[in-house]
Amino acid sequence: MSEHAILWTALSVLLLPMLSYVIIFFFGKMLPRKGDWVGVTLLGATLVQAVRIFVHFWQMGDSQLRYEGGFRWLDVGQFTADAGMLVDGMTAIMLVVVSLVSFLVHLFSVGYMHGDRRYERYFAFLGFFTFSMMGIVLANGLLFLYVFWELVGLASYLLIGFFFHKPTAADANKKAFLTNRVGDFGFFIGIMIFFTAYGTFNYMELFAQMQLAPLTGALLTWAGVGLFMGCIGKSAQAPLHIWLPDAMEGPTPVSALIHAATMVAAGVYMVARLLPLFDPNALLVIAYIGSITAILGATIALVKTDIKKSLAFSTISQLGYMVMAMGVGASAAGMFHLTTHAFFKALLFLGAGSVIHAVHTQEMPLMGGLRKKMPITFVTFFIATLAISGVPFFSGFYSKDAILAGALAFGMQGKTMIPFILALAAAGITAFYMFRMLFMTFMGKPRDEERYSHAHESPWTMSVPLMVLAVLAIVSAGWKGPADSWFSKFVTSYDLPAITAEYGHQENHIVESDHHVVVDDHAVVHVEEHATSESDAAHGDSHGDAHDDVSHKAHSMAMVMSIAIAGLGIFLSWLAYMKKAFSTEAIKTRLNPVYKVLQNKYYFDEIYAATVYKFVLGLAWLNAAFDRVVIDGIVNGSATVTKIGGWITGSIFDRYVVDGMVNGVGNLIQGAGQGMRRVQTGRVQTYLLYVCTSIVILVFVFRAL
C-alpha cells in the first residue's frame, strides 16, 4: 500500500467506530435488534482495516517505517496546532489490539447485555470508546493525544456508570473521573512545558528538538513526571490506582475492553510513544512507581474474593509491570506485554463475565466446580491463567520474562535492583492468586448447589470471543522474546538521529534564546554518539556491546528465576486450594493484621478520605461559606440597593416629579381653558368691546411713534 492508502485506511479505522456510535446513538431504537449488528459489523470492518495496516507493516518489516499526515487545525496569531495521524509499527499493533478486543467485546456483549433496557445506548458507547481509543493510538501530537485522552475518560465514565441506578456504579464513575482528573492535570502541565519550550505538539518534531536543544536540568525531569502523571491516572498506577477496582461496577465486557485491555494501557502506550522525552530521573520515578504498583496490586488480588475485583487488582499489577518496563529501559518489552496482556486479560474478564452471567454472583466462595457446566469457559480461562502466570509456551511468559530481564539488566548496570525484586515477587504472587481464582471458580465441589444447578454454558456469541482470545493468549508472543519475534519488526526504540535529521530543520525559538545557543555544539556530539551506538546495537533495547552482554546474561537469569517463581506460586496455590495441605483460614487468622491491611487495599481509600477528601471537602465548605456570605451578600446587597433606588425613583421621583410635570401641564392647560372661556361670551358686542378697547390701548401705546 502507498503512504496515501495507509493514511486513508488509518482514518477509516478511526472513523468507523465513530460511525457506529452515531448510527446506534441516533437510530438504534428504530433499527431491528436495536442496532447491535451495526456495531458488530462496523467494528468487524474496523478490524479488517486495522489488520490491513498490520499486514503492510509485517511485509515491510521495518520498525522505523513511519507514515504521517495531517492538516493545520488551528492558526491563531502566534499559536498554531496541527491535527494529524502517525502510523508506525507501534500504532499498527495497537490498532489491531484495540479493534480486535473491541470487536470481540461487541460480539460478547450481544449475549451478555441481552435484554438490557439501554441495550442500544451500550453499543453506542462502546463505539464511542473505540473511536476515542483509536484517536489516542493514531494521534501524531500531544494536543490531540490529550483530546482523545479525555474522550476515553468520558467513555469510561459513561460505561462504568452504565448501571447508574445502582448507587455504587454512580459513585464509581465519579471516582474514576475525578481520580483521572488529578493525573490529567499533571499530564497537561507536562504537555505545556514541552509546548512552551519547543512550540510544537508534534512528537517527531519534539524528539528532534530534544536532540538539538535539550531542556536543562530539573525542568525536563518535571516535564517527564508531569507526562507520567497522566499515565498514573489512566493506567491506574499507585497512588491513583483506587478508581480501577471500583470501575468494575460497569458491565463486565466493558471491564474487559476498557479496564483491562485498552484504555488502561493507554498510559503505557503514551510513555512508550514519548520515551525520548523522559530523562533518566523521570524514568527512575517511572520504574519505582511501576514496580510498587505491580507488587501492590498483586498482594491485594491475593485476598479479594470478588472475581472481578481480584482481576482488577491483577490488571493494576500487570500495568505496573508494563510501566516499570518503560522505566528500566525495556520499553519494547513493555509494549510487548501490553499486547499479550490485552488478549489474556480480556479473555480473563470475558471468562469471568461468562461465569457471572451463569451464576449471577461475583463472589468466588459461592462458585466452584463450574468446569463441568461450562467447559469452554473453563478451558479458555485456564489458558489465560497459564498465560498470565508466566508458564512457558504461553504468550505471557515471553513478555513478562522480557520485562524481568530488562529490570534485572537495569539492576546489574549499577542502578537500583528494587524494581526487579518487587517485580519478581509480584510474578510469584500473580501465579498464586490466578490459580487460586481458577481453583475456587472451576475446580472442587460446588459450594452453592442452587447456583450450580442453574449454571449453563454461554451462547455462541459469548464463547466464540473466548476461543479467539484463547488462541491469541497462546500464540500472540510467537514463542520468542520481543527482540527476536515478529514484534521486533514493529517496535524498537526510535531512530533519533534519523528523526532529528528529518524534522530538525524546523524553526526553533529555544535555540535562538540566549542561554541555549551554546547547546548546538553539544547537540552535534550527542547525535554522533547516538549514531555510533545505534549502529552497534543489535536491537532496540541495547546501547552497545557491553550492554548487550549484560542484557543477555540478565535474560537467561531472569528466565530461570521467573519460571521457578511462577512454578512455586502455582504449586503453593495447588497445595492450598486443591490439596488443602494447609488451611488458608489458619494463615488468615495467624497473619490477621496483614490480611486486614490487604483486604482494605492498604487503606488507600481511607487515607484519602482522611486527608485529600477532607481537605477538598473543607475547601469546598470554605468556598461555600465564602459564596454564601460574600458573594450572596454582594448580590443581595446590590438587590437591596436597587430596590431602594427603585422605590426612590418610582415612589418619589416618578410620582412627584414626572407625574407632577405631566399633570402640571394638564392642569395648567385646563386652568387656562377655564380662565379663557369667560372671555368667550359668544356675544358679538362683547367682542367688539374688546376690539375697541384694544384699539384705544394700542393707539395710546403707539402714540409715541
Partner: protein
C-alpha cells in the same frame, strides 16, 4: 370762524363713536345694523374731508362712493341674516342668540 379739516374730522369722529356706541349697546339686531351704518358714514366723512383738504384729488370721493355701495350691500346681506335669525330663534335680540357658547 372758518370751517376746517378739524371740524369735519370731529363730526366724523362723533358719528363713528355714536355708531360704536349703538353697536355695543343695542340688543336689537336692526338697531345694531344702524350703528354699523353710522360707523361707515363717519368713515365716509373722513375720506371726503381728507380728499378735500389734504390730497385735493377725487380718490377720497371715489372711496366714499364705494363705501356707500358696500354699505347698501352689507345692509341687504345683514338684514337677510337677521331674518334667518328671527326664523331660527324667534327673536332679533343679539344677546339671546348664544347657542355657540353652550
Amino acid at each position: 370762524m372758518e370751517v376746517g379739516l378739524a371740524h369735519y374730522l370731529t363730526v366724523g369722529a362723533i358719528l363713528f363713536s355714536l355708531g360704536i356706541f349703538a353697536v355695543m349697546t343695542r340688543r336689537n339686531a336692526v338697531a345694531l345694523l344702524m350703528g354699523v351704518e353710522l360707523i361707515l358714514n363717519g368713515a365716509n366723512v373722513n375720506f371726503v374731508a381728507f380728499s378735500r383738504y389734504v390730497e385735493t384729488s377725487i380718490d377720497g370721493h371715489l372711496m366714499a362712493a364705494f363705501v356707500i355701495v358696500l354699505a347698501a350691500a352689507e345692509a341687504a346681506v345683514a338684514l337677510a341674516i337677521v331674518l334667518a335669525m328671527f326664523r331660527n330663534f324667534g327673536t332679533v335680540h343679539v344677546d339671546s342668540v348664544d347657542s355657540l357658547k353652550q
